[in-house]
């Protein structure tokens, strides 16, 4: 069982990381660079799920 401060730290890190990958997807949508927005979205989801599952066993 982790301390409260540790939980806050982990939550902050996840918030910034997940927010960031989705921001990249959001930016990529209206770019004309030949990169499929769906692959951006899938990557954002995959990275987010990975990070949440990574932290889960440590804080639960």
């Amino acid at each position: 069982m982790a301390g409260v401060l540790d939980l806050v730290y982990v939550a902050l890190a996840l918030l910034v990381a997940v927010g960031g990958v989705f921001t990249v997807w959001w930016i990529g949508r209206d770019l004309d660079d030949g990169i499929d927005p769906t692959s951006d979205l899938l990557r954002a989801v995959a990275v987010s799920v990975f990070l949440v599952l990574l932290a889960w066993p440590l804080v639960s």
Partner: protein, 334 residues
Amino acid sequence: MDHGKFTRVTTYFHSLLALDVFLLFFTGYSVMFNDELWWMVEFMGGNAGVLALHRIAGFGLIVLTVFWVTLMLIGPGRRKNFKAILMTLTDAKAFVQDVKFVLGRADERHPNARQFAGYSSDEVPLLSYVGKGVIYIFTVELVLLMVSGLLIWSKVGLAQFFQTKAAATAFVTFHGLLGVVMVMGIMFHIYEHGFHPAFYPVEMKAFVPKSMMPHEEHEEHEGTGIELLSLRPTWKWAVNLAGAAVVIGIVSVLVGSIFDSGYPVPAGLTPGGGPTSILLTIGINIGMFVLLLGVVLSTYGNVLRARYEQQVAGDEHDSEPEAAADGGQPRADE
């Protein structure tokens, strides 16, 4: 290739420092994140081998750092660098404009943020705001890491400087946690300079001294001229893959440092170094892979430099017969 910034000594110093710091990371964090990087410890000769390597690299770090500070103080034309690293209000504006640029609210990156200067290179300062930040973090971190590292250098010294074993343990923990800022910063540094679309896969400014850079006068041109450059085919997936790997690496090391802080004896005195998970193991290993990528790119930069130097030498050689064909005197000794 963009305008050069590094002198010849700086290119060598940067490469040596990089190799030394990577070695310190691999040895240091395979000990601190022992639960996740046990294979690295085995690979580098077990506990004793790893710590011996860490001390050798630490010694190298002191040599390199003191060399650099001394050179900045006594070397010709170096004093002005101290002024060039001062943070200004413009740097804060550059960061804000960078955020706006990413969100689509600004047309260009601020000159203080520009990595690719192109046609507008006269407007670009010696260091971008990130470059200044890197120097600050390095200075503070290296001093603290070297001092705390020396304090825990040997068992005799340890007992001489600390009254209790707990105090010594606290310092080992402190030393490891300090480096976390560095390790995250270096992952970003690798991404920042390896995956810029105009430079990918490696920014030659760091490897070819500015004295050897071609400086051509360009005609008047609006902006940097980046739209004239052609992307490398692999950039499209590499930039996203590396971005994801860097994010996972940084978050994993960060989360790991919260729970895995005190090997060999964690802060909470629980044996085993704290909890772990399979994904944390994978994540931290991805982080180490990002660092390894840095080693590879740094080496590749030096290979390209060697090739470039060879090419420059070859061009000079090639031009001689032409001069002779133009009516110059043929050389008698050939």
